[in-house]
Amino acid sequence: MIVAEGKPVEKILEMIAPYKKVLIAGCRGCVTVCLTGGEKEVGILASQIRMARSKDGNALEVLEQTEERQCDAEYNAKFLENVGKVDAIVSLACGIGIQYLGEKYPLTPIYPGVNTLMLGANIDVGRWEERCFACGDCVLDKTGGICPIARCSKSLLNGPCGGSQFGKCEVSAPVKEDIPCGWQLIYDRLSALGQLDKMSEIIPAKNWLRAKGPRTYVREDLTLDRS
């Protein structure tokens, strides 16, 4: 799932300062699941910015709408009526949704209400951890099903490095939380699987071109000729 966090409200208020009427657009996909951009958060942000602008004596009208997925044009079409009524949109979808909704309504300015953080798993209520980097060249077969790109701070393909201490990564300290050493995790998993020999296999340098955008993915067997 794509994981996002809410943007500081002062930033959002700055973006929409010139406007009198805005639409907050939520998404029922990943950002609902990661508790950042569903109908509930749309309501909370709407209430907050209404009050903020009332306090400044510069009343703001806020419309609220949440649809299935902002990364699909058909769902974005449902925003048409409300987009027509407002000066600007604040989208609480991930970066993909924000842009794609914006593409649908090119004459209405769109602003991000969230920062898109990572591809992660929901460990428990209120906690998410990165698991995939979308590098385009998966090596999980060689690493016991644990991704060295996403989970090693240096994305080393042949680890661990000297900064692995007692199972933790040396970069832990500045970010306060203990980060497990990705390569320790790989070692432990391979050990449990009886595949430790894979540790001595040198993984050759990756084709990082596949990790660099702009990327497009086309399946000729599926594309429709709409002419």
Binding site: R28, L35, R69
Partner: protein
């Protein structure tokens, strides 16, 4: 199932309660004001609404005007409520479609009109509540090997099938499903098997355990015995001096005291020459114990009170207790042939593992159940799983039989293989459900499952569903849902937000188990203080959504309070903790936009009217310092 009904016809009745109400409220004027607005189909004011003739008249009016919802504005008491609910039942009106307005509690015509309008508005927004007919498994699983489990199994077997397991030879390794339809995974002679049960009764008991650290390191031996060693020794104590000691390890438990009394009486019967019982606090508050104590004294058992810690000293010729008596200056020595020390009780082996497997909470001493004033003794945090006996703390004698009776009353509801329950559990709008599992994970009662099927109209063809027998209606799930897909009947967002459309200066969201009751008590102590205060009742503080707090402020309140149960004492396990987290976030939201300190979080019990008033004063002072809410949105 809940369905939105379209043909709502509301009758509103205003009662003067034989002149009581018109001392403060001009009832005719109130009626005229309400009549001038829309929102009802029939209105009538009368002197006394609760008479028999009136009931017949209302019955006829219900038929004549095809009323299907009622608002009864009267001096509400349980008698009147029962009478009208009965009338509703007779007339085929769902009892959840009758709303009461307490005119005894309002002190002006305006307040009476406002309260009536509030009830009318909510009646329009209320979803129809149906009843669900559910098939259930009558079979009950009793877990435990001792006498307590056997007694429970025997009692339950009279009404329905029972399987008793000792949790050693056959043990529980997993649990799925809901009350009435549990599937228990068992390990039976090394084989994993699944069996269906409607309810589970835990009766693992407690075991005595001698812990020498509680007795200053005293080792047991030939003449120093633990209480259970003594009971099982089978020796002849005729002509011997035996001294018992209570209170050092067993925290003066009734169970130890009862055992010591019985042993002392037996010893006297067997011709022991001297029997002494050292105690710190006498605990006789159970059936029969005081009689036994009196009898023991009559038969010559000596009861000796000590203070502080006693010692055991050894002579060439024997042993003695050395202790301080509260009223004598010098230490006292009691010589004995045998010294018997009461032990601590600890949970039976396997208690903790079973708690983890069933997700049942443990509390003081590692026994089942948290130390929480709202939890009934036999109920666990999961409906359909019950405790009997010492597995939730050592209990004695008649208490056990009371518990068995209470459990029997609960499990026998399933004896007929089907139950009918009002569909009051939260309802999920599948179109909005993202199947994110937030509700599933936040439910304190394991009442939620994810179901799949064509009828769930979203891209996953799936939705969360609350089980009507497992759900305890706290509303935590509804407040946590990021998609606003969950609504708790009788407390929907619509109904609650309707109440704060034009809020008072201070809005207090109050848990009906604590804060709400405290507010009612507080009003009798200082009615003036609640002039600017609006109480919004919620089933649990865990139902208080961030949006409720924000909307009250957006609509013009200057301050918001959350009145919740004391810490560790939420009836629904962690509702008050979730409320506290939401309060923190909401205050941050206000700080970000410079609205100042406007939210108070108050732990208050039902009987703390004074504390409630103190909290209201503190809130008033806080908003006096923060000033009028500048965030109010003028519409």
């Amino acid at each position: 199932m809940t369905e939105q009904i379209t043909n709502i016809r509301i009758g509103i009745y205003l009662c003067d309660c034989d002149g009581k109400v018109s001392k403060k409220v001009d009832l005719q004027k109130a009626k005229t004001v309400i009549q001038s607005q829309a929102g009802f189909d029939y209105i009538r004011a009368t002197d006394v609404l609760c008479g028999k003739l009136e009931q017949e008249k209302i019955g006829a009016e219900i038929d004549k005007y095809s009323l299907n919802r009622l608002v009864i504005a009267a001096c509400v008491d349980p008698f009147i409520m029962r009478q009208f609910l009965q009338l509703a039942d007779e007339k085929g009106i769902n009892r959840y479609n009758v709303e009461f307005v307490d005119l005894g509690a309002v002190d002006s015509t305006e307040a009476a009109v406002a309260a009536a309008n509030n009830a009318l508005g909510k009646m329009h927004l209320r979803a129809e509540i149906g009843y669900e007919e559910l098939a259930v498994t009558p079979d009950v699983l009793v877990i435990g090997a001792g006498s307590e489990a056997a007694a429970a199994a025997t009692a339950i077997a009279k009404s329905q099938p029972v399987v008793q397991i000792d949790n050693v030879g056959t043990r529980v390794i997993g649990l799925d499903g809901f009350p009435g339809a549990f599937t228990v995974r068992l390990l039976e002679n090394g084989q994993a098997v699944k069996k269906d049960f409607g309810a589970i009764v835990l009766a693992l008991g407690a075991v005595p355990q001698y812990d020498k650290s509680k007795y200053g390191g005293i080792e047991l031996g030939a003449d120093i015995l633990s209480l259970s060693q003594f009971i099982n020794s089978g020796k002849d104590y005729a002509g011997k001096k035996v001294s018992f000691a209570l209170g050092m390890a067993d925290e003066d438990s009734l169970l130890s005291f009862a055992a010591v009394l019985k042993a002392a009486l037996d010893l006297k019967g067997e011709g022991a020459s001297e029997v002494n019982v050292l105690y710190e606090d006498m605990k006789v508050c159970a059936d029969g114990l005081e009689q036994d104590y009196e009898l023991a004294r009559k038969k010559g058992v000596n009861f000796l009170k000590y203070t502080g810690e006693f010692q055991i000293v050894r002579f060439p010729s024997g042993i003695a207790f050395k202790y301080r008596e509260p009223f004598l200056s010098d230490p006292v020595k009691i010589v004995a042939d045998y010294i018997v020390l009461a032990e601590d009780f600890v949970p039976a082996a396997g208690t903790l593992e079973l708690a983890e497997i069933l997700d049942i909470r443990t509390g003081p001493g590692g026994f089942f159940q948290k130390d929480n004033v709202h939890f009934l003794p036999i109920r666990s945090n999961r409906a359909g799983i019950f405790f009997v006996g010492s597995c939730h703390g050592p209990i004695h004698g008649t208490d056990l039989y009371n518990e068995i009776e209470a459990v029997l009353a609960e499990v026998s509801a399933f004896a007929k293989g089907k139950v009918s329950v009002p569909s009051l559990q939260p309802k999920v709008d599948a179109e909005k459900c993202a199947v994110c599992l937030t509700c599933y994970r936040c439910c304190p009662h394991h009442a939620i499952e994810i179901v799949h099927g064509e009828e769930y109209n979203n891209m996953y063809y799936s939705a969360a569903r609350m089980n009507p027998l497992a759900c305890q209606r706290c509303g935590v799930c509804a407040a946590e849902c990021p998609g606003k897909a969950i609504q708790l009947p009788l407390y929907s967002d619509q109904e609650i937000l309707f109440e704060v459309k034009q809020p008072a200066r201070i809005v207090a969201y109050a848990c009906e188990n604590s804060g709400f009751l405290a507010s009612e008590f507080a009003k009798t102590l200082d009615p003036e203080l609640q002039k600017d205060l609006q109480i919004v009742e919620v089933p649990c503080s865990g139902k208080i959504d961030i949006i409720y707090l924000l909307k009250a402020l957006e609509n013009g309140a200057d301050g918001v309070m959350l009145c919740v149960c004391h810490k560790e004492n939420c009836k629904f396990v962690w509702g008050n903790d979730r409320a506290e987290q939401r309060k923190e976030r909401t205050q941050k939201i206000l700080n970000q936009i410079g609205l100042g300190e406007r939210i108070d979080f108050v732990h208050v019990a039902a009987n703390q009217g004074n504390q409630f008033n103190t909290a209201v004063k503190a809130m008033a002072e806080k908003i006096r310092q923060s000033g009028t809410n500048p965030g109010k949105v003028v519409k």
